[in-house]
Amino acid sequence: MDPPLVNDSSFSPANPSSYTLSEIWPFPVNDAVRSGLRLAVNSSPSDKDVSTAAAAAAAAEESTVTDLTAGWGGRKARALNSEEDESSKMVSLSSSGNEVKDSGDKKRKLCGSESGNGDGSMRAEGETSSGGGSKATEQKNKPEPPKDYIHVRARRGQATDRHSLAERARREKISEKMTALQDIIPGCNKIIGKALVLDEIINYIQSLQRQVEFLSMKLEVVNSGPSTGPTIGVFPTGDLGTLPIDLHRNIYEQQQEGNESRGSHPEWLHMQVDGSFNRTT
């Protein structure tokens, strides 16, 4: 767990002396866009005190939310106070499902995180961040009365009506996902800025698709060549792990029958028969 530290870059506290440890969030290290789905569960002190202490604390909480969007929204990096009487709602995105940091499986990560991130009813508990392993450093949450909806903190000077709050929550979710994407695309970690990241993603996808097309052209050539079907010596199992080697052998090459007779695979035999038939014609 990270020690609480005040990140000066994110705000300038109005009145440092009025801090109490219980009110301060530990500040996230605000630099690199770390992989997404960070959650700041902001538990607020009671809304009543609008004093500078609350302001500072609110500012502290703000910067955690700022960190959510990882610096894209430059406008958020300020010491902001919530509206005074307005019940400031808070962004609490539960981290419970979001194990982005488990880089075990990127595919599942995205699916799972979304499913874990139930939309309407998330409990804004203090410890929701303990989805475990989220490297986000802002997770010192104060306990908080559990609520049932998404709380979005309204910032100073920004409208607090329902629509913009929803809009803001939506935007933040989008940025989360974009940081998640940044992890997948090689070389995207360094890039800051939504537009550039999106550019990279587009380029990457296009190049992947072109590669697929090129490879399929090549495959076509190979497939329809007159004397295709060379002996397959070694099947490159490098990154393909446990591939069904027998399939390939059967199709292109019938010399090595039965070396690995794997139990009963009726289709396997079937294909082999077919293949041999093909060869003779």
Binding site: C111, A195, Y204, I205, Q209, E213, M271
Partner: protein, 160 residues
């Protein structure tokens, strides 16, 4: 995956099922779809119909079939099965709804919107999803594309 040590009479493979990572699962499914299809194509070689599009079609079909847990694969399947002309997944997309640019937004936002739209075009079925979903699906799609590329590479390498 642990080999049980020793006696030659004992079995050498572990009794537990091998745990496959999803990438492996996908790759396995993909090759098991693609390779028989290619073989079938090969068998029908006599018909003059074989051309590049057909192989590409099979390639895409295999991709869609192997990734059925994702939304984009359903769209891809539809596209492939509905049209006899396999629309390639590569640009040249004549996908319908083009969302008009909102000129009232600031430039930066407009750019981002535009790029998001472009992304949507790249992803099969992307235009019918909203942005959040699309971003998630894009991640999966990219991963599957990568796996597909490496699978294709090995197949091609094998036969040359």
């Amino acid at each position: 995956m642990e080999r049980q040590t020793i006696n030659k009479n004992k079995r050498v493979f572990s009794a537990e099922p091998t745990k496959l990572s999803p990438s492996e699962v996908f790759t396995r499914k993909y090759t098991s779809h693609l390779v028989p299809a290619l073989k079938k194509l090969n068998m029908d070689k006599n018909s003059p119909q074989i051309n590049q599009l057909t192989v590409k079609h099979e390639v895409d079909m295999a991709l869609a079939l192997s990734a059925q847990e994702f939304a984009w694969s359903r769209f891809l399947l539809e596209k492939l099965s509905s049209s006899n002309n396999p629309t390639t997944t590569i640009s040249s997309s004549s996908n319908g709804t083009r969302i008009p640019e909102r000129s009232c937004k600031e430039d930066e936002d407009g750019e981002i919107e535009e790029k998001l739209r472009e992304l949507q075009k790249l992803l099969p079925g992307g235009e019918e999803m909203n942005v959040e979903e699309m971003l998630i699906e894009i991640g999966n799609y990219i991963k599957c594309l990568e796996l597909q590329t490496s699978a294709l590479k090995s197949i091609v390498q094998d036969t040359t």
